[in-house]
């Protein structure tokens, strides 16, 4: 008898082990079935995930359609703000060589700022050089397809994200005196950066957006599509009154890219 029980338990364990493996597999499959940065998609396709009865969202989608032509989705992995910002801005730099020149100088100078703040050189350089290499390719080498491929290459793409995170961290620490007022709890700016900015997968809040746009001098518009009242999406420009070239769509917990 005990033998049977044992084999029952074994059988059960094996099944649940398979089940767990399957769940893990499904999670990975879902993650990898969604590209890090998608092709441009129409609002029809984009809106198909909402039920016709979901009036708030349907109306807000209609509103977006009046002002924008299409959307690019990003993978919801906690890095979506940086990935959406990075891609959208680099895409613009492919066309705008004057802005590219300005940005290249700014991006170069971020390395020394980070070193001055005490980040170890060898870990910074790793990410900085990868970043500058991609920026360098925007000058002439890259087609839009190659840019999309780069952003969909997990290794390269994540290395770009790490550097954008470092720029945010560096800026917040440099301007600590001001930004410390916006940190909740009794954390120092340095602690906040170590815990909420630098690690991969940590989501972005307003403070991250403000820091990144200010550090790079790249204004951003965010369209908010949430369950709030009204038939229209509200937007906010970072910084206020700027003329943003990068437009992001925010739905609670997630950023995608919008095109006019």
């Amino acid at each position: 008898m005990p033998k049977d029980v044992d084999s029952d338990i074994l059988c059960f364990l094996r099944k649940s082990e398979n089940g767990l493996l399957e769940i893990g597999y499904t999670v990975r499959k879902v993650a990898s079935s969604q590209p890090l940065v998608s092709e441009k998609i129409s609002f029809e396709v984009f809106g198909s995930e909402y039920s016709d009865e979901d009036l708030i969202y349907i109306h807000k989608l209609e509103d977006l359609k009046k002002r924008y032509t299409c959307v690019r989705r990003t993978r919801g992995d906690g890095n979506c703000f940086y990935r959406a910002f990075g891609f959208s801005y680099f895409e613009r730099l492919l066309q705008d060589k004057k802005e590219l020149q300005r940005f290249t100088d700014v991006a170069k100078s971020t390395r020394d700022d980070l070193i001055k703040l005490g980040f170890p050189e060898f870990t910074i350089d790793d990410f900085h050089e990868n970043f500058m290499e991609v920026v360098g390719k925007l000058e002439s080498e890259f087609t839009l397809t190659e840019l999309t491929d780069t952003f969909n290459d997990q290794g390269l793409s994540d290395y770009l994200i790490v550097y954008l995170r470092l720029i945010v961290s560096g800026f917040l620490q440099k301007e600590a005196e001001f930004y410390t007022n916006f940190i909740e709890g009794d954390r120092s700016i340095k602690e906040f950066c170590n815990q909420e900015v630098e690690p991969m997968g940590k989501e972005s809040d307003h403070i991250h957006i403000i820091a990144l746009t200010n550090a790079l001098g790249v204004p951003v518009r965010v369209e908010y599509m949430d369950r709030g009242e009204g038939d229209q999406c509200n937007h906010h420009d970072f910084p206020d009154g700027s003329k943003p070239g990068v437009i992001l769509l925010y739905r609670p917990g997630h950023y995608d890219i919008l095109y006019t």
């Binding site: 980040f119 170890p120 050189e121 060898f122 870990t123 910074i124 350089d125 790793d126 990410f127 050089e129 990868n130 290499e133 290459d153 997990q154 290794g155 390269l156 994540d158 290395y159 790490v162 470092l166 709890g185 954390r187 120092s188 602690e191 170590n194 815990q195 909420e196 630098e198 690690p199 991969m200 997968g201 940590k202």
Partner: protein
Amino acid sequence: MVEMIREKKRRSADYEIRRESGAQDLTGRQTCFEREWVKRYGEGQNSRGTLENHRQTSLTHQKDGAGANRRNKTGKLQELTLNPPEGIIAGPENEENFFEWEAYIMGPEGTCFEGGVFPSRLTFPPDYPLSPPKMKFTCDIFHPNIYPDGRVCISILHAPGDDPMGYETSAERWSPVQSVEKILLSVVSMLAEPNDESAANVDAAKTWRENRKKFEEIAHRTVRKSLGV
């Protein structure tokens, strides 16, 4: 006893020299790893260095060989194996697998672990440095922040949100700019100052808190055992 410690220190110094010459070997001639690298990713993708190799391989694995570009900094990444901070020796276990490192930590002076030389193993994930390595002592060590099976439990080995012990918010977490050196230094200070509030070994935490003398006795035994006496 003193003799034994001296002998052990000498042995670890030998080890260090062996490591150094090993590392110099790496810079001097093509290793198996380098050959494999060249085979896979083409000439000109220099694979020297240790940790940097690791960063490159992991990245290149993900990139499917789409051109590793971080070859200039390899020298810097050797620093840890060539000039480790005092009391630490660390490097890859062998030249073919840069995902497994061994590290020897000396018990910090002025603590009950002083004089001990504690071997450990670091295991790197494929997406290092985006995710942290794991660290495990391969010797017996009775300490509040080390699980009975040797796994080290300190905040820097965890990304925020991934904290089995609910670390205090000021504790430093893993991020891609951290390094092996930083981890090992944190481990040294962990040995010097156990944190009994987030205990991986409850028994050890209790002993540390309530019976410091007994804790120190056990530590001394661990030290002697680590020296093989």
